[in-house]
Amino acid sequence: MVLLHLKVMNKFIFILSLFFYLNAYAESTVKAGDSLIWDSENQSYTATGSVEFSNDTFIAYSEKMIAQYVEQGDKELFTIVELFENVRIELKDEVFLGDYAIYTRDDNIITLTGDVSVQSPTRLLKGHELIADIDNNKRILNSANDGSLVEVLLENNENN
């Protein structure tokens, strides 16, 4: 009886471990309308034509994307994602627009340059460069002119 109980417990622990293992991996998706090149020597993916990149945090659209990856153990991870032309990034209720964007996985920061704008339900901000710190929920918007620096700090407020 005890042996049977132990066997059932082992199976339960195995299934539970498997569940957590599968959920430990976030999923990123790349869709390309024209072409995609997997360059295993330079460890990159280049997608062109109505590109869509999404992960568990944001969805990005552009005309071209170059994603760099590294190998960690037997897995490969996207580390840097560059987006070119007509960049649109949707992050929760915000929309970032720009000519070029770079996302770095290590610090979870998106930097947009060019004709940048930030749209949210309550405001529209425009500038030359946007640095979106996703982990710290911080947005820094710079104008093209160094003399007129603008910084916007958005705090989490569930009531507003």
Binding site: V30, K31, A32, L36, S40, K75, E76, L77
Partner: protein
């Protein structure tokens, strides 16, 4: 002179026709300098291993058509598997010398990062690049 021609005109024409026929016969039977060594061969439910830059690659298909010593056509459902990728598709052409494989049919590629689906591919193994044309979807499991 005119009398001579009138008497021998038929002999001359017959000689001319015979010469023309001999000429045609000679060139019609002249052996070609080109050597054709095309041996077509096909095998069903085929699988084998080839050595390329990516290492040992296992290939297989419903039917293998050997075009020549260096070119194969994997007809029907086919695959290429090695330590870097697994390519599952249809009607894949392989050139062993140029280390190129390609197909214009739907293909699924599985690598250590995720799964990619496209409508055709061109794998240049010597460059370590795989080109996918048309609408491509790649899902990674990070």
């Amino acid at each position: 002179m005119s009398k001579f021609l009138k008497e021998n005109i038929f002999n001359f024409l017959i000689f001319l026709l015979l010469s023309l026929q001999a000429f045609m016969y000679y060139y019609d039977n002249k052996p070609s300098s080109k050597v054709y060594s095309q041996k077509s061969m096909s095998v069903e439910n085929f699988s084998s291993i080839v050595l390329s830059k990516s290492g040992l690659t296992k290939i297989g298909s419903d039917k293998l058509n050997k075009i020549d010593e260096d070119q194969f056509f994997l007809q029907g459902k086919s695959y290429l598997e090695n330590k870097e990728y697994k390519i599952y598709g249809e009607d894949i052409s392989i050139n062993l010398i140029e280390e190129i494989s390609h197909s214009k049919k739907s293909v699924q590629v599985i690598n250590s990062m995720g799964t990619l689906e496209a409508h055709g591919f061109k794998n240049i193994d010597s460059e370590g690049k795989i080109y996918f044309d048309g609408i491509v979807t790649f899902k990674s499991h990070e």
